[in-house]
Amino acid sequence: MAMEMRLPVARKPLSERLGRDTKKHLVVPGDTITTDTGFMRGHGTYMGEEKLIASVAGSVERVNKLICVKALKTRYIGEVGDIVVGRITEVQQKRWKVETNSRLDSVLLLSSMNLPGGELRRRSAEDELAMRGFLQEGDLISAEVQAVFSDGAVSLHTRSLKYGKLGQGVLVQVSPSLVKRQKTHFHDLPCGASVILGNNGFIWIYPTPEHKEEEAGGFIANLEVISRLRNCIISLVTQRMMLYDTSILYCYEASLPHQIKDILKPEIMEEIVMETRQRLLEQEG
């Protein structure tokens, strides 16, 4: 049983490694952003002593006259239309409580759930008693945000065939600020796996459904693809890169020369993400 031991090394700051000229304006709670009163306050700021002060730790973003601070590490804040991946924590009367990495547990009402068979009917008492048969504690679901209550709790619905209970696969939990907002969050990657990028930071990796027919041969290859994708996502997150289908795919391709378990080593992680970053810059430019 060989073990690898390493000594801790001081981390090099990111901008030094990239040689970036423009530095982000980073603030911590209590920092003054500006003394100019002509700006409108956005999220993460407050007015005190005629100065605009930051209330969260993050980077300052400015859009015309609006200044806001985008927090680096935050819980998920629900918005209508977001796709989320959540885990059932409780089964209550007529609803399920879902954990989505937000400040309060989200709610999935029985009436917002698709019944098997796709029937549209009023939910009866038998449906209530059979709730545990649909979703138990610990189950994972993909859902869309229907509404946000006044206290910030999120109400979900699975009223479409693409949402619902999730089967075999791997869940990766990342910070919600790293998931890029896109038109679609369900991606079928060409390597044989599919990925659901939940806006709440829960990322679900699973084998693409067509592959299930050729179970015997393709199964082990699938497991490896999924493990590799998982490690790639974790390395992107450690280097604070935005997650979207292209960045994950490029990172996967950059990691192919290495063994799956080596991807988590710090030096190899840096190398792979550097390559991904360059490819993405080339693609943009």
């Binding site: 801790p8 504690e137 089967g167 497991l223 493990s227």
Partner: protein, 174 residues
């Protein structure tokens, strides 16, 4: 240790992978994660080590003090273990919550180090029946407590090696 809730389908997936010697993160069943070791972190101890294994973070300090040998073993010194599972590891360890796990780990450490091949206790003897060295080993767990036993074992061995020349070289425990 830390508890995780999983759906049935996830469990089936993990079991399938393990049957093929492939864990979720690509490691084989017998592969270890990277371990980060730092010695001499606590200044007022004779030797100390900090071990990070995955999410587990352990700090071990060893203090050597003079004492009297135990009656049944007059030619040997001995080791005293104390494991503190602090609330900073997980909220479950708040107050007295971490005590049970702490005593369990301490008892296991006693049993492990209670043989001649790990630490030769005869070297800790100064004069038989009168004086001997007593090594007080304190283990502090921070962050999540997954492989505490493992990590603390490695820490203990490392700090033994980081002690001065009066200590004997210790064989490595896996």
């Amino acid at each position: 240790m830390a508890s995780v809730t999983l759906s049935e389908a996830e469990k089936v997936y993990i079991v399938h992978g393990v049957q093929e010697d492939l864990r979720v993160d690509g490691r084989g069943c017998e592969d270890y994660r990277c371990v980060e070791v730092e010695t001499d972190v606590v200044s007022n101890t004779s030797g100390s080590a900090r071990v990070k294994l995955g999410h587990t973070d352990i700090l071990v300090g060893v203090k050597a003090e003079m004492g009297t040998p135990k009656l049944e073993k007059p030619n040997e010194g001995y080791l005293e273990f104390f494991v503190d599972c602090s609330a900073s590891a997980t909220p479950e360890f708040e107050g007295r919550g971490g005590d049970d796990l702490g005593t369990e780990i301490a008892n296991t450490l006693y049993r492990i180090f209670n043989n001649k091949s790990s630490v030769d206790l005869k070297t800790l003897c100064i004069s038989p029946r009168e004086h001997c060295w007593v090594l007080y080993v304190d283990v502090l767990t921070g962050k999540r407590v997954g492989k505490v036993l493992h990590a603390s074992l490695q820490s203990v061995v490392h700090k033994e090696e980081s002690l001065g020349p009066k200590r004997q070289k210790v064989g490595f425990l896996g």
